[in-house]
């Protein structure tokens, strides 16, 4: 009997590993149809290795707020699986060598292993039950029950049950390994005779091994591919922050992405790594306000498209018959309208909520911007209002379209030095389009100037020479326009040898900091919240009053999630407002909810679903603040609109952090 089982299992093992190897090679070949990754993926190998080990082994990936409970389940299953791996190896090797055991590792090592195995196997079992309850009884909205989820849960349960059955039988057969839980189970359930133990062992082992052998290829044919692809995906993560890459307008003839082979191999690997957890969709502000964007579905549909298209692409490439991406191809269909709708592409605020929650560090918004590039550059399929925005940027270098000659009007009479007159100024105050043209934000800019002057900072402005940094153009996919704008601005900055920039706009901050090196400008970039915090720390500014109002701070996405600036604005507030008057929204820091204006959405009508700013504003108003504080011109506008929408503009004021600071230092105190 045992011999027959061994023969059957041997055949199964061959089939299983053969299929695994075949599929592995196939999936690898599919990745190769992608283009080069525009950003480095393997630099700093040691750092990457350490970060990956920490992130995966400590299961930081799965236990991010607010998914702690599912994360704990995942951690238990993950650790249980690592620990049960030696048993799996034992079980498979026992097909050929029935007596094989890791007992040779010695009493302590093997004893420790068996002890941990016993505990974690129970943990896995509990977690599996928890997962089953969640998946089939609780059914959270984001959980999408594919065929593979119940199958895999069942298989894992089978692995654990047969594991205990083998142990219980082995205990009866005299095995002395340290397995307290199996021991209790044995005492309670048996088997209590050697004959029974022997057959139960054989049966349990055969089943255990068979399940494992089914599981192995299934890994590569289900969403459990993440077990194989997740770790390399994390290792190959983007370490340069959210940014878009520069295009080669000299040589390229096709711009943006609309066919699977236009994505980079790393974008394709992302689709293998996706676990269908849909936390990204759960966090997405567009999705949460009734818009058709589902970042998780985008990745999953891309995987389906890859599996469908890759064989065709490979075949056509081999025959040298693959048409250029802008020409119709019968067998390889465009991605837009297939994996994602146009409305969904334009719904993205590039807020990065999906990026920051993804357990395997997938990069969703980058793909969306690539598709926007296609729509904007190739098809010119853009909203009417964006046509105006782009024209405004082209002709007057600001999205509002006010004459470029008026850019310095806000500064009239303020006696602000121009960099052309003061080439030695230490900092360039980058006013930004909002500071220069938006009546509301001009006030903020004036307050910022008051602060810088009070602190005796050596600074100057570009005046009418300043132009738009191009953030909106880039996020909206108009890379051609951005190329022209960024080239001009980088040249301008270099012509004055600017090395340090202070700006009040997180979007400008982000673009200068992460993207202008692509155009030859390198230097220090300070967001005004960072800079004011520095001035307070260095005691360059002091406050003469405490602001008594109940104050709530909103994290701008481009400040917080994209640049990790959470503490400085709060540090400033703690210096201004008594601790008990400071409050937070339910979603703050990394889980902050976008105001709705990022990714160029500032310039677009919001026609689908609820308005994001209204939803976010309600969240703030629920805490009964007197003041909502932001550190971003877009957020300021969105919140002011939101407060008006709620009819609360009499009771609740919306302020930039610089305005609070300027009120508290005014009149500037002389040094004591």
């Amino acid at each position: 009997m045992r011999m027959v089982l061994r023969l059957i299992l041997a055949a199964l093992a061959l089939a299983s590993f053969g299929l695994f190897a075949f599929r592995f090679k196939q999936l690898l070949d599919y990745l190769k149809i992608g283009v080069e990754s525009p950003i480095p993926r393997t630099d700093d190998g040691n750092v990457r290795l350490k970060e990956t080990a920490k992130y995966v082994l400590a299961q930081i990936c799965s236990r991010k707020e607010p998914y702690i409970s599912t994360g704990i389940m995942h951690t238990a299953i993950f650790w249980g699986f690592l620990l049960l791996f030696p048993t799996a190896v034992e079980a498979v090797l026992r097909i050929a060598f029935p007596e094989f055991s890791f007992a040779f590792l010695g009493r302590y090592l093997y004893g420790g292993l068996t002890l941990l195995q016993d505990i974690f196997a129970l943990g896995v079992f509990v977690a599996i039950c928890g997962a089953a309850v969640r998946r089939f009884i609780v059914k959270p909205k984001r959980v999408d029950n594919h065929w593979d989820a119940p199958v895999i849960l069942g298989l894992i349960a089978g692995v654990v049950i047969t594991f205990f059955a083998m142990n219980m039988a082995e205990i009866q057969l005299g095995e002395k390994a340290v397995r307290p839980i199996s021991g209790i189970l044995h005492a309670l359930l048996g088997p209590h005779t050697t004959t029974a133990a022997s057959s139960i062992y054989t049966g349990a082992w055969a089943l255990h091994t068979a399940i494992l052998l089914v599981f192995v290829p299934l890994l590569l044919y289900s969403k459990h591919m993440h077990i194989i692809a997740g770790v390399p995906n994390i290792y190959l993560q983007n370490k340069e922050g959210f940014k878009q890459h520069r295009m080669d307008f000299e040589n390229a003839e096709f711009f943006g992405v609309n066919r699977i082979d236009q994505l980079s191999w790393k974008d394709l690997l992302d689709t293998y790594a996706c676990t269908y957890c849909n936390r990204c969709t759960d966090q997405c502000p567009a999705n949460n306000t009734g818009k058709p964007l589902e970042p998780g579905m985008l990745i999953q549909n891309l995987r389906d498209a890859l599996l469908e298209d890759a064989p065709e692409v490979i075949k056509l490439k081999k025959e040298d018959k693959l048409p250029p991406p802008d020409e119709e191809c019968e067998t390889v269909k465009p991605l837009i309208d297939r994996v994602i709708s146009r409305d969904a592409i334009w719904s993205c605020t590039t807020c990065g909520a999906c990026l920051s929650i993804c357990p395997v560090l997938n990069e969703h918004p980058q793909k969306i911007v690539e598709m926007r590039r296609y729509l904007t550059l190739m098809e010119s399929d853009i909203a009417e209002e964006l046509q105006i925005t782009f024209r405004n940027l082209e002709n007057n270098s600001n999205p509002w379209g006010v004459g470029f000659a008026n850019r310095a009007d806000w500064a009239e009479g303020l006696d602000i030095p121009l960099i052309s007159d003061n080439p030695d100024a230490e900092y360039l105050l980058w006013v930004g389009c909002a500071g220069a043209y938006d009546d509301r934000y001009k006030k903020v800019m004036k307050d910022l100037v008051t602060i810088l002057k009070a602190a005796d900072v050596s600074f100057a402005i570009l005046g009418v020479e300043e132009k738009c940094c191009g953030d909106s153009a880039r996020r909206l996919g108009n890379e051609y326009l951005f190329e022209m704008m960024a080239t001009e601005v980088a040249e301008l900055l270099n012509s004055y040898n600017v090395k340090k920039i202070i700006t009040a706009c997180p979007h400008g901050y982000h673009t200068f900091k992460h993207e202008y090196s692509q155009y030859g400008w390198n230097g220090e970039v300070w967001h005004h919240s960072q800079f004011i915090a520095k001035l307070i720390r260095e005691k360059k500014i002091r406050f003469n009053i405490a602001l008594p109002h109940r104050t709530i701070y909103h994290d701008s996405c481009y400040l917080g999630r994209h640049n990790n600036i959470y503490d400085e604005p709060r540090y400033i507030l703690r210096n201004l407002v008594p601790e008990e008057q400071l409050t937070e929204m339910d979603r703050n820091h990394e889980r902050s909810f976008c105001c709705g204006a990022g990714g160029g959405r500032m310039w677009m009508e919001e026609k689908i679903g609820h308005r994001i700013n209204v939803v976010r504003c309600q969240e703030a108003l629920a805490k009964n603040p007197d003041k909502i504080v932001t550190a971003c011109p877009f957020c300021l506008t969105m919140f002011e609109d939101g407060v008006k929408d709620a009819g609360k503009e009499e009771e609740v004021s919306v302020r930039d952090i610089a305005e609070l600071v300027a009120r508290a230092i005014e009149p500037p105190q002389p040094e004591a």
Binding site: D326, S380, Q387, F390, N396, A405
Partner: protein
């Protein structure tokens, strides 16, 4: 059908107008394709896309920088462009300009079925050139068109907005049409089309090429003369009338009667 679209390079709508002596200060001005001409180009391109037209020629008269406006027209979809540029053209009035444009049409074969203009150029704002061209060529014209239907080889039906309604004109081709806002929504050219536009032919003519004597154009060839430029007076502050309704009304009537004398 062969269409001529006239394109003028004009200062951007947001330009801060400044004077330098008796002339406009043209330094630091961003020039664009006259927005009304954009409607004309778009309309022509739509006719070509509807297979009603075979060739669209974008024509401009102006300094070398007008090439940029022409490239824009080419990016929207014109097939080729012609620029008349000559130092002697400086100071030409509308009639002198119209005469030059007529010469260009002759030079380009004279076989145009449709002459499309913007209803006005946003810089000089004279509205005259299209009608003068029509008069010189003795062609029918419809100005300020908001809808246009063309039957190649026979006629054009143009709708114009007039006070209280619409006027619909039927014109025999060839005809002159001037385009108004509302006729269409000009497209934002796609990048491949911008790239293609850079390679499309752009012919430059001097006065000599067109057989025009310098004395017929410029200041000397113009019947109108610009005597001086003057900025409009700066807008004064508003006036607020406050108080009880009776007082306010009395005050307002007094203001209308005595100060601005409208009643």
């Amino acid at each position: 059908m062969k269409i001529a679209v006239f394109c003028k390079s004009v200062p951007d709508t947001e330009t801060k107008v400044r004077l330098k002596g008796d002339r406009l200060d043209t330094s630091g001005i961003k020039y664009i394709l006259n927005p009304y001409d954009e409607f004309a180009v778009e309309e022509a391109v739509r006719m070509k896309e509807a297979k009603k037209a075979e060739e669209i020629v974008a024509i401009s008269m102006g300094p070398a920088r007008a090439q940029e406006a022409l490239r824009n027209a080419l990016a929207i979809g014109a097939d080729r462009a012609v620029l008349v540029t000559d130092d002697a053209l400086d100071g030409s009035d509308t009639l002198a300009t119209a005469k030059v444009l007529v010469k260009v049409l002759e030079k380009e074969g004279g076989d145009f079925d449709l002459l499309l203009f913007g209803q006005r150029a946003i810089d000089g704002d004279t509205w005259q050139v299209p009608s003068q061209v029509a008069a010189l060529l003795d062609l029918p014209q419809a100005t300020c068109t908001v809808a246009l239907e063309v039957e190649p080889g026979s006629k054009a039906v143009a709708t114009r907005l007039v006070e209280g309604g619409e006027e619909i004109h039927e014109l025999t081709l060839p005809a002159v049409i001037t385009c108004s806002k509302g006729l269409n929504e000009p497209r934002y050219p796609s990048l491949p089309n911008i790239m293609k536009a850079k390679k499309k032919p752009l012919t430059t003519y001097s006065l000599g090429d067109l057989g025009i004597d310098a004395s017929e154009v410029g200041k000397n060839g113009s019947r109108t003369e610009v005597l001086s430029y003057e900025l409009p007076p700066a807008r004064g502050g508003g006036k607020k009338v406050e108080g009880e309704p009776e007082e306010v009304v009395a005050e307002l009537v007094k203001f209308l009667k005595e100060e601005i004398k409208v009643i």
